[in-house]
Amino acid sequence: MEKGIFLVVIVGLPFLAALVVALGRFTRSTSSWAALAVALVGLAITLSFYPSVLNGDVVRLVIPWVPTIGLDLIFRMDGFTWLFTTLVTGIGALIMLYARYYMSPDDPVQRFFAFLLAFMGSMLGVVLSGNVIQLVVFWEITSLFSFLLIGYWYHNAAARDGARMALTITASGGLCLMAGMLLLGHIVGSYDLDVILGSRDQIISNDLYNITLGLILIGALTKSAQFPFQFWLPNAMTAPTPVSAYLHSATMVKLGVFLLVLLWPVMAGTDIWFWVVGSAGLITLLLGAYSAIFQQDLKGLLAYSTISHLGLITVLIGISSPLGLVAAIFHIVNHATFKASLFMAAGIIDHETGTRDMRKLSGLFRFMPITATAAMVASAAMAGVPLLNGFLSKEMFFAEAVETHTGSLLDLSLPYVATLASLFAVVYSVRFIAGVFFGPDPVDLPKTPHEPPRWMRVPIEFLVLLCLIVGIIPGITIGPFLHTAVYSVLGAETPYYSLAIWHGFNEPLIMSIIALVGGVLLYFAIRNLARQMDGPPLVRYLKGQRMFERMMVAISWKWARSLENLLGTRKLQTQIAIMLITVLAAGVAVTTRFDWVGFEFPTVESDPIFALIWTAGVICAIGAAYQAKYHRLVALVLMSGAGLVTVLTFVWFSAPDLAITQLLVEVVTTVLILLGLRWMPQRKPDIYGQVIMPASVLIRRGRDLLIAIGVGLATTTIAYFVMTRELGNTIATYFLELAYPEGGGRNVVNVILVDFRGFDTFGEIVVVAIVALSVFALLRRFRPAPESMERPAQQQRLIEIYGRGDDVGSTGGARYMPIAAVIMHWMFPVIIVLAAYLFFRGHDAPGGGFAAGIAMSIAFLLQYMAGGTRWVEERLRILPVRWIAFGLLVALATGIGSWVFGYPFLTSFFQYTEVPYIGRVPTASALLFDLGVFSLVVGATVLMLIAIAHQSIRRPKKRAGDDDTSEAQAETELSQGDA
C-alpha cells in the first residue's frame, strides 16, 4: 500500500508547512508562496489519485496505533472524498494566492498563513480519515483553527466575540459528535469507517440508533450552521475575507453536510432522519434566504446566503432519495465555486473602497469593470440563472422537491418553500448586483475605488470560469467526477440522472421561472425598504445570538456563582476536614464487611532497640504537632527527629538507598525551612490568653483531634494487617532476576529507576524541574509583608557585633562563626567527592543520581552558609538553570539514543569495558541517564534554596501606600542574575 503513504503526505504537509511558516522568518510573499505551493502539491497528489478511486474503489492506509482497543490511524480516499479533497486543496490554492494581495504587510501575516495551512491540514484530515474517532479529532482541530482565524485581528472586540461564539458552538457540537461516534463504534464494534459503512442493518435496528443519530446530527448541524445553530456564521464574518471565503463558505461549513453524505448510506432513510434533517434544512433554507435580503453588510448578505444554501443541501440529504443525494453532492461543489468567488469579490470591494456597507456602495461597475463582471456572473449562479452551474443543481433540487417521498406535511410543502426560498435568493442576488455595481457614483467612500492587482483577480476569474463551463457543458466537465463521487457513496443504488441543461418544459423549469421573475419584481418592490432595514423584519426579533449570549452568561456567570455559593467554601480547613471524614467513613464502611472467620493475630516479635527508636519517633511527631504554632524552630527540630527515625527504619529494614536519600533530603529540607522562617509573621502568644476559649474553638479542635486520631488508627490498622500478611508472587521477582542480566546493575532499586521504569523517572525529574522553576518564578516578584522587611532582631544583634555577615569586606575575626566557616569551606571538595562516589557506585551499590545530586547541592549550600551569598557568588557562578537544562537534555538524549539503535525510548545499553589499570568497568547507558538525573537534582535543589536565600539580601520595594518610600529602591541585580 505504498500509494496510501501519499494520503498521509496530503494531510501532514500542510501542518509541517504551518510549523515552518510560523517559526521561520518569512515575508508576506514568501509565506504565501509557500502556502500556495503546499496547496498545489496537495492538489497534484489528489488529482493523481483519481484512477484509484474510480468505480467505488477505496485507497486505504492503516497505521496501527492502539491495536489492543481497535484504534488504528486510518487514511482512506474514495470517490466522494476525492472530490472533497480536490475542493479543499484547489480552492485552498486560490485562497492562498488571493490572500497574498488581500493581507496587509503590516498584519502578522506569518501567523495568518500558518493558521490557514494548519486549517487546511486538519480539514484534509477530516476528509481523509478512515477512523471515526480520528475524524472527530481533526474535526475539532478545524474548529480550533477557525476560532484562531476568526479572531485573527484580536484587537477587534467583535472578532473576539465572533471567534468565541463560533468555537463554543462548533466545538460543543464536536463533543456531541464524539459521543455519537463512540456510540456508533459501540453498535458496529469497530471505529473503522469502511466497517461502519457496511453495517447498515445493524445500525438502523439498534436501540441506540436514535440517540446516536441525534448526537451526530448536533455535530453536523452546528458545523454547517443549520437552524437552530445558524447564528454563529454571520458573527464569524469578522474574520479576514480569505478566511470567510475558504472556511466559512467553501470548506469548513461544508463538513456538516459532508459527514451527513458520508453516513447517508448507513443512517438515512428513517423517519427521524427525514424529519430532523429535512426540517432543519428547510427552515434554514428559507430563514437564511429571507434574512440575506435585509443585510447591509456585503459579507453579511453572503453569510446568510451561505446558510441558506447549506440548508438547501441539508434538505436534499434529508429527503433520503438517491437523486437527492446526487443533487446534494453536486450543489456542494457548485456552491463552493460561486460562493468562494463572491466572497473574494466582496473582499476586493472592501479592499479597494474601504467599506462593505451596501448603503454606501454604488455604481462600482465603472471603476472595476472586470471584478464587477466576475462578481455578477457568480451572483447569477447563486441566484440560479440558466447556463450557470447553480442553475443545474437548483433544477435537480426542484425536481426532487416536486417528487412525493413520504406524503407528510413537510414533504408536501417542499415545492412551495423551495420556490419561495429560491425567489428570495434571486432578490438578494439582484440586490447585490444592482446595489453595488450600478446606480450613481458612490459618494463619501474612504478610498477611491479601482481595479485590484492583476493576480488578486485571478482566483475569482478562474472560479467564475468554472461556473460558466460547468453550467454550459456539465456532462463532459463535472459529469465523470460527480459520477465517481456519487457511485462511491451509493454504489449499486446509483440512480440515473441527467446533467443536461434542457429537460423540457417541466415543473422545475416553471418553478425556476417563477423564482427568477418573481425575485426581480420583488426586488424592485422592496429595494428601498431593504436599504433602510437594520435587519430582517419579524425574524430579527428571533435572535439566536441573544439567546446564546444569555445562555453563556447564565452558565459561565450566574450558575457558576450559585454553584460556588452552594458548594464552594473559602475555608480550606473545612474542606480538608470534610474530605478526611468522607474517606474515613468509606474506609470504615469497607471494613465492616471483613470476614473475621479463620483470622488469627500473628505473633508479635519485638526488638527493644527498634522500639526505643520509635518511642523517640512518636515523641518527635507529637511534639512537632504540638509546637508548630508557637515554637517553629522547635517544631522543625522535632520534625527532623521524626525524619531521622524514618531514616533509621529504612536502614533497619534493608533499604540503604532510601536511607541515604532521606538523610540527605533531611538536610536540605531543614535548610529550606530555616530560610523560610525569616518571612513568617511573629506569632503572638495565645490569642485567648487567660480568657476561656470560646466553645466554637473547642469544638473545632476536638473535631480535628478526633479526625487525626481516626486517621492514625486507620493507618496503623491497615499497615499492620498488610505487613503481617504473606507477600504473594509479585513483579519483584522479575526485577530481581533480570536486573543484572538485562540491566547490568547489581543495585536493583537503581536499575528499576534508571532502566526498567526509566520513563517514570524521566517524568519525575521533569516534575522536579517544573517545581524548581515555579519557585524561582514566584520569588522573582516577591513582596514580603511590611513587618518582615526589617532584619530580624537576632540578625540585627549579630550584625552589631560582627558586622554584616554577607558584607564583602568582612573577613577574618570580624566574621560570624569563623572556624565553622573555614571547616565548611574545606568540606567543599570532600562533599563533591562524596557525591561522585555515590553517583558512580549507584548502579551496583546503594547511591545513585538522586542521592548524589542532593549531596552535591549540599556542597554548594555549605559554601553559601559559610561565606554568605555575596561572598560565594563573587567566586563561583553556579547557574542552576543550566544544570537543570543539561540534566533534562542528557536524560532525553539518552532516551532518544536508543531509537537510533532501533529500540524503544530509554532502552538501556550495557556492557563491560576494559579500562587500562582499572580493569573491567561496567558501562551502561543507564549511567548517562543517571547523570541527567544527578544534574537536574543539583540544579533544582540549588535553584530553590538560592532563590529563597536571595530574598534576604535583596532590599525589597515598599508597596505603594506605605508611609516611608525613601528607601524604596530595589536592589535586585542578584536575584535577576543568571540564577
Binding site: M639, G643, S654, G712, M723, F850
Partner: protein
C-alpha cells in the same frame, strides 16, 4: 516489629493530619512533611519488612529471589522523597509569597472573621 512500625506510621499520619487541619500555613508545612514520612514508610512497608536483605545482588551467587526485599516499593519511595522535598519547597514559597501579598499566614489568605 510490624506492630511498632505500624504504630509509628499511625502516629506520624495522625500528627500530620492534625497539623494540616490547623489554620497557620507553617503548621501545614510541618504537617505535610510528617504525613509524607508516614506515606513513604507505609508504601515501603507494603514490600514487607526484612532485615539484612538489601536488594543488591551478587551475580556470582546463584539467584534466590527470596533473600532480598522487594525493590519496587523502594524505587517508588526514592523518587517520592525527592518530589516530596520539591513540593515542600514550592509550598513554602507559596506560603511566604501569599503572606507577603495578603499580610497573613492564615491558609485562607485572611484572618478569621474578616
Amino acid at each position: 516489629m510490624e506492630l511498632i512500625l505500624a504504630i509509628g506510621i499511625g502516629v506520624l499520619a495522625g500528627s500530620g493530619v492534625w497539623l494540616i487541619l490547623r489554620p497557620r500555613s507553617f503548621q501545614v508545612i510541618i504537617g505535610l512533611s510528617l504525613l509524607s514520612y508516614a506515606v513513604n514508610l507505609f508504601i515501603f512497608a507494603m514490600g514487607r519488612l526484612g532485615t539484612g536483605l538489601p536488594p543488591v545482588i551478587d551475580p556470582n551467587m546463584p539467584m534466590d529471589t527470596s533473600v532480598f526485599t522487594d525493590p519496587l516499593p523502594q524505587a517508588l519511595v526514592l523518587t517520592a522523597i525527592v518530589i516530596g522535598f520539591a513540593m515542600t519547597a514550592l509550598f513554602l514559597v507559596v506560603l511566604i509569597v501569599s503572606r507577603g501579598q495578603t499580610g497573613t499566614d492564615h491558609v485562607d489568605g485572611r484572618e478569621p472573621g474578616q
